[in-house]
């Protein structure tokens, strides 16, 4: 059984402890190291952590329960707008973040159920198309709900969103502690890191539980799952609701960090990107999904800063527009990844076995 955390399986507990301690120190020191290169990199890291939340949330729906969702970014948008509307001059509301973040999760959760309920009987391609439509509907609403009543301020988006504030400590301001300078992105980094650890623990526990097993059963064979007494309707709705809540929380944090949001942040490409993170990292494996999210967040950024200088160094001038070649290289990397590691960077044990043994399974007449 894999009830325990993978870390607990390490043969030498002392070594594992040292490893965890080193990792903790590294993660604590990371933002200051990055800030010495440029504050932009701390911001990129923060966004990467947000994508980890999104990928982990989508992993519940796609990886655990096997429901292909192409409109996931809608929940991110819902969470972001809930935060923006309740903590900005737009309506003159300035509620504290510890009220709005859970509220955003709740609203996103309701939208998750709204999406889940009519799609309960759909699977695979059909479900993908409906969820894709749902994502677009939300975005178009955000874009157009400025009339007759100005709810979302249309394509201009919402500006001057409040940053997080804990008892007078505003995340939006620079704070000094001895020789250390806590800039805005660094403040958020620590907050995001703590939430990320909580979300990872939560995902691992969900996976190895009665609920997680029910999701896996639905993914493997829905009819058998129902015959075994699993209420597939409730379990699917639960997967949609849980996944959407994670998206909603991530959206709220995005709002506060950026202090400006517009419908343009919640387009279809974002949904596809998050799905690519889940698939590339290893569907169903919590750590794999995190690796996927980090890779797909950082690689394009690293390319952005290296493609131009490398060309200059090699040819003495810029031959191809860095912005074009960047996405070209990125796409190529994705294609190669899927060709050579179809189960992802860190495949879940189950997916790996599934892909390895597909021919044998076909031979014995098993269902795929």
């Amino acid at each position: 059984m894999q009830l325990a955390l993978p870390i607990a399986k390490v043969r030498h507990p002392a070594l594992a402890f040292v490893g965890i301690a080193l990792l903790a120190v590294a993660l604590t020191a990371l933002p200051f190291a990055l800030a010495s290169i440029g504050t932009a990199w701390v911001r990129i890291t923060n966004l990467a952590i947000l994508y980890c939340f999104l990928a982990l949330g989508l992993n519940i729906v796609v990886g655990f329960a096997g429901l292909l969702d192409l409109g996931y970014i809608a929940f991110y948008g819902v969470g972001a707008y809930v935060y923006a509307l309740l903590a900005s001059p737009h309506f003159g509301l300035h509620l504290p973040f510890w009220i709005i973040l859970p509220l955003g999760a709740l609203v996103a959760c309701i939208f998750g159920v709204l999406l889940g309920a009519p799609t309960l009987k759909l699977r695979g391609d059909y479900l993908a198309i409906v969820t894709l439509g749902f994502g677009e509907i939300i975005r178009i609403f955000l874009n157009n709900l400025s009339r007759p009543f100005n709810l979302t301020n249309g394509p201009q988006g919402i500006t001057l969103i409040d940053p997080f504030r804990i008892d007078g400590y505003s995340f939006g301001k620079v704070h000094s502690l001895g020789p250390l300078t806590f800039s805005t992105p660094i403040n958020y980094y620590y907050f995001l890191l703590v939430v990320l650890l909580a979300v990872v623990a939560l995902n691992l526990r969900l996976q190895n539980s009665r609920i997680g097993r029910a999701w896996e059963a639905i993914r493997e064979d829905e009819i058998a799952a129902r015959a075994m007494g699993i209420n597939t309707r409730n379990m699917k709705l639960l997967a949609f609701a849980m996944g959407a809540s994670f998206g909603g929380i991530a959206g709220g944090m995005f709002s506060a960090m950026q202090q400006f949001i517009s419908p343009e942040s919640f387009v279809l490409v974002e949904s596809i990107m998050v799905l690519a993170m889940v698939v590339l990292g290893g569907m169903g494996n919590v750590f794999g999904v995190i690796v996927g999210a980090l890779l797909l967040s950082f690689v394009p950024e690293i390319l952005r800063y290296t493609v131009g200088p490398v060309q200059n160094a090699l040819f003495g001038r810029t031959l191809i527009d860095p912005e074009v070649i960047r996405m070209l290289l990125f796409g190529l990397a994705l294609v190669l990844m899927m060709l050579f590691r179809p189960a992802g960077v860190l495949p879940s044990a189950v997916r790996k076995r599934e892909l390895e043994t597909r021919p044998a399974q076909a031979a014995t007449g098993g269902r795929s």
Binding site: L202, I211, T364
Partner: protein, 267 residues
């Protein structure tokens, strides 16, 4: 309604099911007593699996009703039927192929356990105790059907006979009152079938009633107390195994002959 007979576990009354113009089940009635092994036989296409699917709520019946343990099963979904105490296996094995044998049986415990999202996340004492109990019971059931040595192997990597046994263990994990087996001996060799016969007897001894669809006549006649014969969706005969074996209509349905041709023309 007839006099309530505490000896009857499942009472089927006028079960009818149509697929388009095809009458799959026509007014089928029978009753299964507690503790017996009840056979369901008939030529291919007789409606045996359709009857299973209607019983377990996969298809709604077009007419008639099942009364199980004193309560009607009308309108219940498959998961509700499982919760009432009917567990089934499938003609073409439907295991959770990419999960381990143990996990397959643990999923069978789902309907008899309670832990929700909160328990899963907080992992309180009750949830941990429940998890331990689920795992223990799953191991016991694997041992009961004799697949415990393969507990951590993937379901799809098990030998065919073991997959059949694992499916039975998974069904037993739901604590059924009635275990409905759809051709459990299909594809088994003589030794495996003999083993299955022993297993069926053992299951009966634990107090579980068994409804058995099977083509292997030797198995049916040796293990079943009573047998129902279906042909073209209609009840052809019902009675003790020995009587069914001598029933001329049944012999005709299986072997062909003048009587059968007459029957078919009418149907």
């Amino acid at each position: 309604m007839a006099t309530p007979d505490t000896g009857v576990l499942l009472d089927a009354r006028g079960i009818t099911k149509q697929f388009g113009g095809v009458l799959a089940l026509a007014d089928v009635a029978f009753s299964i007593r507690r503790g017996e092994i009840y056979g369901l036989i008939g030529p291919n296409g007789a409606g045996k699996t359709s009857l299973f699917n209607v019983l377990t709520g996969i298809y709604p019946a077009d007419g008639g009703e099942f009364v199980f343990d004193g309560q009607s099963l009308s309108g219940l979904k498959p998961n509700d039927v499982a919760a009432r105490g009917i567990a089934r296996t499938f003609q073409n094995i439907r295991l959770f192929a990419n999960l381990s044998a143990l996990e397959n049986v643990m999923i069978g415990r789902h309907v008899r356990t309670r832990a929700g999202v909160f328990g899963a996340i907080v992992r309180d004492r009750r949830t941990r105790d429940e998890e331990a109990a689920i795992e223990k019971r799953a191991y016991e059931l694997l041992a009961f059907v004799g697949v415990h040595r393969r507990a951590n192997d993937l379901a799809k990597h098990l030998a065919y006979g073991d997959q059949r046994r694992l499916e039975i263990a998974r069904a037993l994990a739901t604590d059924p009152k009635l275990l409905a087996l759809d051709e459990p001996a299909a594809g088994m060799n003589a030794t495996e079938t003999a083993g299955l016969r022993g297993l069926l007897d053992q299951i009966r001894q634990t107090g579980v009633t068994i409804l058995l669809i099977e083509h292997d006549m030797r198995l049916v006649m040796s293990v079943c107390d009573r047998v129902l014969v279906l042909d073209y969706g209609r009840k052809l005969a019902e009675g003790p195994a020995a009587e069914i074996q001598r029933n001329e209509k049944v012999i005709a349905a299986y072997l062909g002959g003048g009587i059968t041709l007459e029957t078919r023309r009418r149907a």
